[in-house]
Amino acid sequence: MKRNGIAFWIGAALFLAAALLMTKVVSNQYPFFAGYVILQFIALAVAWSILGGYAGYVNFGTSAFFGVGVYSSVFLVKAFGAPLPVQILTAAAIGALMGFALGLLTLRMQGIFFSIATIALTIIIETAVTNWRYVGGAAGIQIQRPPVSALFDNYVQMLFFVQAVLVVLAVAISRYIQNSWIGRGLQALKDDELAAECSGVPTLRLKLLACVISGALLCAVGAPSAMYLQFANPESAFNLNYSVSTLAMSLIGGTAHWSGPIIGAILLGTTQQLLTVTISSEVNVLVLGVMLVLFVVGAPEGIIGLIRRIFRNRNEGRES
């Protein structure tokens, strides 16, 4: 346990150091553009899994949280010219509130009805933002990047590093939850809510907690996106593709362990980036659909599940 913890934090520090080093050494801008998107999806998938994986409440509203993150930044920049850290923290706070509201929904809905409700929530918020003139309405809005701080050569490199920090934050939280009493409680209520409650698990409080944490992270990850694209419009900020991609990455990687969503996001995110560059963005949606179907049908426990099964088989082979 303890030694694992040390290894994890050394790994995280190395990862951040490498990301920082990359901004100093690599001069080509493309790796940062592509890397940002992949990091963003890792963070989204990890954040999503806290509710969707551990608690088993499948949230199709990733786009809602992401979009709200984007637009809270847009609003803060336009109204106050707020700096990036303020944007991210505000987005996290709003996301936590949205998560709390979502958590209250779990009182009345489970399974597929919860999922459908989260889709509904997404479209409703998107429509509201579309009708909000101040942040550009349906046509969208251009955003000016402020001058970059001394530490970085340009803004995209800084965003790249910020997203790497968010990834570490999301993974650390997710890992902590999995290993703590929260994770065990969530696992129990995922298996059987009434049995969990009758074993002393405060299911409502845990669900609210998972929703708040997951929501805050999803929103925070969306916040830098406004600066990254220098443009925001409701159609792309609230695009259902974010929801389905995030869900697909988590399911493909496997939600039984905190590393699953990371594996899934790297795999699918990288593939999508390559396809977008080499072929077209349509094909990338096709691949998303095909991978989702293949994994849900063929490997319902994801890559983590496959690895565990191979491990178990090998161990049994050795024993006999």
Binding site: R184, D192, L194, A195, E197, C198, S199, G200, L204
Partner: protein, 245 residues
């Protein structure tokens, strides 16, 4: 508090539960003293499981009150009732399917504990409960791989892991062979003590007769008889309810 009769552990007063127009429990009142082995019988749909759900908190009731150790718990959520010492098994077993038997028990030990105990201590408790239940060899087996009788025992073990003062067993013997019925019955007998009161719902009459200090029979949501096992069995309304005449 009178010294002659101990204060009841559980006191249910004029409990009524409706589902839409259907009255599942109709003005049920009963008191159960500590240490009693209490049998609950009645035909299918008579309200036995509904009563259990009202005691353990899965259903909200109004009107009516549930008092546990002189505390009104009518409005408490189920997990808070569990922490106060009410544990139950389910008619259709509800294991945590993604966990091993040991982990199933650890959930109860982690969350229902009254005071903080070290992980090592909790593991010891878990193993001693499993040993008592005859499940020690299955500790690291997935809950999905248990046989029917093992599942029943695991449910009781998980309930025991919450340190209950009141253990409610909801048809823990349904679908078992007669030797397995005896096995589970012996277990329940061994669990019962002055500190652990047991309510047993059962259809198997020999089991109820052997087990219970006192038996209550429900029919259509009402108490039709309550008393010693032989009294209740001799009651004409009970016989009618069971024979359906």
């Amino acid at each position: 508090m009178s010294s002659e009769t101990p204060a009841p552990l559980l006191r249910i007063a004029s409990l009524t539960k409706r589902f839409g127009g259907f009255i599942a429990l109709d003005n049920v009142s009963v008191e159960i003293p500590p240490g009693e082995r209490f049998g609950l019988i009645g035909p299918n749909g008579s309200g036995k499981t509904t009563l259990i759900n009202c005691i353990s908190g899965a259903f909200r009731t109004e009107p009516g009150t549930v008092l546990f150790r002189d505390e009104d718990i009518t409005a408490l959520q189920p997990h808070l009732r569990t922490r106060r010492g009410i544990a139950r098994s389910f008619q259709i077993p509800r294991p945590f399917r993604s966990m091993t038997v040991a982990e199933n028990l650890m959930v109860a030990l982690d969350f229902a504990a009254h005071e903080h105990v070290s992980v090592a201590k909790r593991r010891d408790t878990m193993m001693s409960i499993l040993t008592q239940m005859g499940l020690a060899s299955k500790a690291n087996v997935s809950a999905t791989q248990l046989s029917q009788v093992e599942l029943r025992k695991m449910e009781l073990a998980r309930a025991m892991a919450t340190h209950p003062k009141l253990l409610i067993s909801d048809e823990a013997m349904a679908g078992l062979s007669s030797s397995e019925v005896d096995e589970v019955l012996d277990l329940l007998m061994s669990l019962a003590s002055h500190d652990i009161t047991i309510i047993m719902i059962e259809h198997i009459m020999q089991a109820v007769m052997r087990f219970s200090d006192r038996v209550m029979c429900l029919d259509a949501g009402r108490i039709i008889a309550i008393g010693t096992p032989s009294e209740v069995m001799a009651n004409q309304r009970v016989q009618e309810a069971y024979l359906g005449t």
